[in-house]
């Protein structure tokens, strides 16, 4: 499990953030003591750091510079300082990403996973997800079963991927729409219906006709 370190002095916010990231499959730890923050952060040996700027004792920009002297660990600055200058400064000091509060949590999540993937060199194979008897190849946007290969459109891929990530749970249409919008596909209700129908037809071609179950009034679930 990948380890994320939260460096944030607002207790309530960091607890909620930890809860959210834990729920999303990360091992999240919080830096409690800011007196010797640089050493404290390095000792945690995290895979990724979420770093606030306004902190007690030392500010985040200084901490960032100090960490960069000895480590290349991915760092996302998370701050309420929202000017272009602040962002440029942080990026110049070596931050990988810059996110302003209040953040869109899905986007923060996407940035975390994107950054982890990039830095940890996850090879293409790990972008293949096996489900039932077929394999979803996310990087090639195809589903494979035995010798059969079926191409998915961008939206179909995102929908199926999201359903697989949430397998066993009921996923509402609203949730799917939100996920698609967060990834720059601005689809409306009608388009979602069309996409679902097409996706099901494609799954039928590989004999997975009833793979997506409709829960009336609630949404969809992967069997």
């Amino acid at each position: 499990m990948q380890k994320i370190l939260i460096v944030e002095d607002d207790i309530k916010l960091r607890e909620e953030l930890k809860k959210f990231l834990d729920n999303n499959g990360y091992n999240t730890v919080i830096l409690e003591n800011f007196e010797n923050s640089v050493q404290g952060i390095l000792n945690e040996n995290a895979d990724l750091i979420l770093l606030d700027i306004n902190l007690p004792y030392l500010n985040g920009e200084y901490i960032l510079k100090e960490i960069r002297k000895v480590s290349n660990v991915p760092i996302i600055m998370v701050t309420s300082k929202d000017s272009e200058i602040d962002e440029l400064l942080s990026l110049n000091y070596g931050a990988d990403q810059y996110v302003t509060k209040p953040y869109n949590i899905q986007i923060l999540l996407a940035k975390i996973s994107g950054l982890l993937k990039r830095t940890q060199n996850i090879d293409a194979n790990q972008n293949k997800i096996k489900y039932n008897d077929f394999v979803l190849n996310v990087s090639k946007s195809i589903i494979e079963k035995d010798e059969k290969i079926i191409e998915l459109t961008k939206n179909e891929l995102k929908i199926l991927h999201y359903l697989i990530l949430n397998k066993g749970k009921i996923v509402s249409r609203d949730e799917i729409m939100n996920y698609l919008w967060d990834t720059e596909s601005y689809i409306d209700d009608g388009t979602l219906t069309v996409n679902m129908t097409r996706l099901r037809a494609k799954l039928e071609e590989i004999g997975e006709k009833d793979c997506i179950e409709t829960k009336r009034g609630q949404g969809y679930m992967l069997k």
Binding site: D10, K12, L13, E16, L17, K19, F20, N23, N54, S80, K81, D82, S83, E84, I85, E87, L88, K101, P102, Y103, N104, I105, I107, D174, M177, N178, W181, D182, E184, Y186, D188, D189
Partner: protein
């Protein structure tokens, strides 16, 4: 003989004073910042002139002190607003996090209200920024598509809830601007499109066209439009017009006024076309001056 001498003295005095006041009047006319007049008057060689110059100098100095006092207090107030806004963003962020961890119908409804608070907060921040003389932005190479995506995402919930179709195309263009400011401006415009949409088949189309010296961003909706006589007034502060008085719209007349002001500061032009019952088209024109492009490379 003494009379002739007296007449000659008076003549010289007249000549001197006449010349002094004539120069003074000319200078005053040419001067743009008229309060600086005492600085450029030559030292007069007669008594009234000296008194005049000293008086003007004292008056000018006292006025500058007075103006400085207001400049200071405005700067001070602006700094307080900025600080306050950074503070208020913390509880907003925490609230949104708590909502995310406790998703249900009630928290979803609260989330919508929190989004409104966030929007008003942003508006206050940019209002404070729009009122200062100093440069508060940073022009750099930015991608138009990213700016548009950010602005759309800020309105995601409302757009989905209201079943508004978003069409975007031809946005992959480089512009030179402060992207944070642009996201704010675009956000205000999209919010207007949402606010003044019709009941059915709602659609907002966002795209860009590149011309020789400029990149034009179009935001086109098929909403209720603006009455002909009111189009020229939409950028006025506090102007709400007929649409602003429709039940439940709660127009403040600040959004577009602020956009225009920020655009002026950034050197962007903001244009608006509208037809009642057909829709509204807003054009944001980014200059593509080769000078800026070269200087920033």
């Amino acid at each position: 003989m003494p009379i002739v001498l007296l007449a000659l003295c008076l003549e010289i005095e007249y000549y001197n004073k006449n010349k002094f006041y004539k120069v003074l009047k000319e200078n005053m006319e040419e001067l743009e910042e008229k309060y600086l007049i005492s600085e450029i008057i030559k030292n007069p060689n007669f008594e009234e002139g000296k008194i005049l110059k000293e008086t003007l100098q004292d008056a000018g100095k006292s006025m500058l002190e007075n103006v400085d006092k207001y400049k200071f207090s405005q700067q001070d107030y602006k700094e307080y607003i900025e600080l306050w806004i950074h503070e208020i963003k913390m509880p907003i962020a925490t609230s949104k996090m708590i909502i995310e961890n406790n998703k249900n119908e009630v928290t979803k409804s609260i989330d919508e209200e929190i989004d409104k608070i966030e929007n008003y907060t942003e508006q206050a921040l940019f209002y404070a920024r729009s009122n200062t003389v100093e440069k508060d932005y940073y022009i750099k190479k930015s991608n138009l598509k990213e700016i548009v995506n950010n602005a759309i995402l800020k309105n995601k919930e409302t757009l989905i809830q209201n079943n508004i179709k978003i069409k975007t195309h031809d946005l992959d263009k480089e512009i030179y601007t402060d992207s944070k400011w642009c996201v704010f401006i675009l956000n205000q415009i999209i919010q207007n499109s949402i606010k003044y949409s019709k009941k059915e088949n709602k659609e907002i189309e966002i795209y860009a066209k590149e011309e020789k010296e400029k990149v034009i961003l179009y935001v086109k909706d098929n909403g209720i439009g603006i009455k002909k006589g009111e189009i020229t007034r939409v950028f006025e502060k506090g102007f709400t017009g007929e649409n602003g008085r429709i039940n439940g719209k709660k127009s403040t007349g600040i959004g577009l006024y602020l956009c225009k002001k920020l655009c002026d500061k950034l050197g962007i032009s903001l244009e608006l076309n509208s037809e009642k019952d057909i829709g509204t088209e807003v054009r944001i024109v980014f200059p593509k001056s080769s000078f800026i492009n070269e200087a920033l490379k």
